[in-house]
Symmetry: C2
Subunit: 299 residues, 2 copies
């Protein structure tokens, strides 16, 4: 049932139209692992600098994240700055300091190499593939990507797509990767590129899952107090993969239910800055929102 | 179980990025009635000019629409022109010729005044209210509106909202009416204005229903070959109200199911110009798409 995530840990500077924060613990793997920790004990592989706060490692461990694979190297932790427009749909990257990420080659610890479920969080596709190659016998591998890699490393990405079971894309990325405006058509085009399943995220409009044996669509949980959308996509993936790992299979029926869990974890993520709004949730709080979402979607 | 719709009949000139048609039979009440006719025999109240083709009246009657309330007056039928941007989300009105609509005062025929279910298709809110006042004892009244009336007749619209059970709005109209960017918040604000239920349509992203005893969200049916979106909203309303009239009640459970039927009828509407793609569907074709949509949304 083991779940492995390979991705970034970061300190983020975030500006919204209403508020801002500097040096918030973030990163794709961090958000994913915190979300997944509500369902299983995920193993995290990533790199940080010597400036990374011991308290932040401790906080992840307290949530049940196995941080053995977090490498600490001389230098500064990856830093990223983002600014959101008032409508939340447009995000500008204000700066990127790769720092220790620049030379990062993920090393999956011996104890995590037999993981059955793997999430390759957003990174250069060649790095994602290199990480995946260290896992001996993965049963279900999902990857994330971003427009940057579609732009500058498309061949690597197309190669990666042949080695994974599922890819998670947002609407903009799906259109960019396929040149198709219609999202259903775009998702079907992505399937032709290799992965068995595509999850297409549409922000406040929810997400859908397409594969040979499934087409499932789910609205977003109706959050009315968005504070910071950073990490929502990774929190969705964390809840999704967390449920799959806890269930022990990636059947289409499990994936439908996993979409609901991912939507629930993402909904908590956006209600404040950083990982706290998600890390601090109890099982009862998740269950209540799960029940509410089920009521919203049941005909 | 009788269903009454009051609205426009029109001839439309439509341009899309891929094709165009002139003089297509259209109008809000036409699309609504054709959609509803798959569930019940709707009564249509509206006005046309002496140029209105007898074949078009006959086509509606053949679909089961009661056209007794269609008044023919000296002059030309209402004409409207629209042009869609490539992404379908932006529509420009290229011209509006009110013609016989200019002096139209809807007269509900004696035989339709006891209708239990009423749809006030898009029109000046004062005209909608005037029409409603002729119905003796309506059980469930839903109205549509448009940004024009929010702009130039907001007081009349706010007055109308106190006399109806449900209003159907698209995302842009809901934001314009309330000044709220978040659609859930906007829908809740509209509820405070009087109607018991709000249906908020989000085009390709589906629609949701909010009321005191229900919050239900449904994705759109995944149409991949959109040809002309004109009439989709009215077709949705027609399927929705048609199912409610056929069921004989507007309970929240019936409304959830009605949302599915509305989504199915709208999905056929957009696959070609005019009413044909919807009028020509068999019960089996509707049932097949209904089944498919249920599979897409069932967890």
């Amino acid at each position: 049932m083991s779940l492995l995530v390979i991705g970034t840990l970061a300190y983020d500077d975030i500006e919204t139209a209403y508020d801002s924060r500097k040096g918030v613990l973030g990163g794709s793997a961090t958000y994913f692992a915190i979300a997944a920790s509500h369902y299983t004990d995920p193993h995290l592989v990533g790199v940080v600098g010597t400036d990374f706060a011991k308290e932040d490692i401790a906080a992840m461990q307290k949530s049940g994240v196995n941080t053995t694979g977090v490498e600490i190297v001389e230098g500064k932790t990856f830093r990223w700055g983002g600014r959101y427009e008032k409508d939340w749909n447009t995000r500008h990257t204000t700066f990127t300091e790769l720092n220790v990420l620049e030379t990062f080659e993920p090393k999956v610890p011996e104890a995590s190499r037999d993981s059955k479920f793997v999430f390759l969080a957003n990174a250069a596709p060649a790095v994602q593939l290199h990480a995946l190659e260290q896992v001996t016998k993965p049963e279900f591998v999902m990857a994330d990507t971003m427009n940057l890699w579609i732009d500058i490393a498309k061949d690597d990405l197309l190669n990666l797509l042949k080695h994974i079971d599922a890819i998670v894309l947002n609407d903009e990325e799906a259109r960019m990767l396929t040149g198709e405006a219609n999202l259903i058509t775009a998702a079907n085009r992505v399937l032709e590129m290799g992965p068995k399943y595509v999850i297409l995220k549409k922000g406040e409009h929810g997400a859908f899952l397409i594969g040979p044996d499934v087409h499932f669509s789910l609205p977003a949980y109706p959050v009315t107090n968005v504070v910071d959308p950073t990490g929502a996509g990774d929190s969705f993936a964390g809840g999704f993969m967390g449920h799959i790992a806890a269930t022990g299979n990636a059947s289409s029926q499990t994936m439908r239910q996993a979409m609901v869990h991912g939507t629930v974890t993402a909904s908590f993520c956006v209600e404040d800055f950083g990982i706290q709004p998600l890390a601090n949730r109890t099982a009862d709080e998740l269950a209540a929102r799960h029940k509410e979402l089920m009521s919203i979607v049941t005909v």
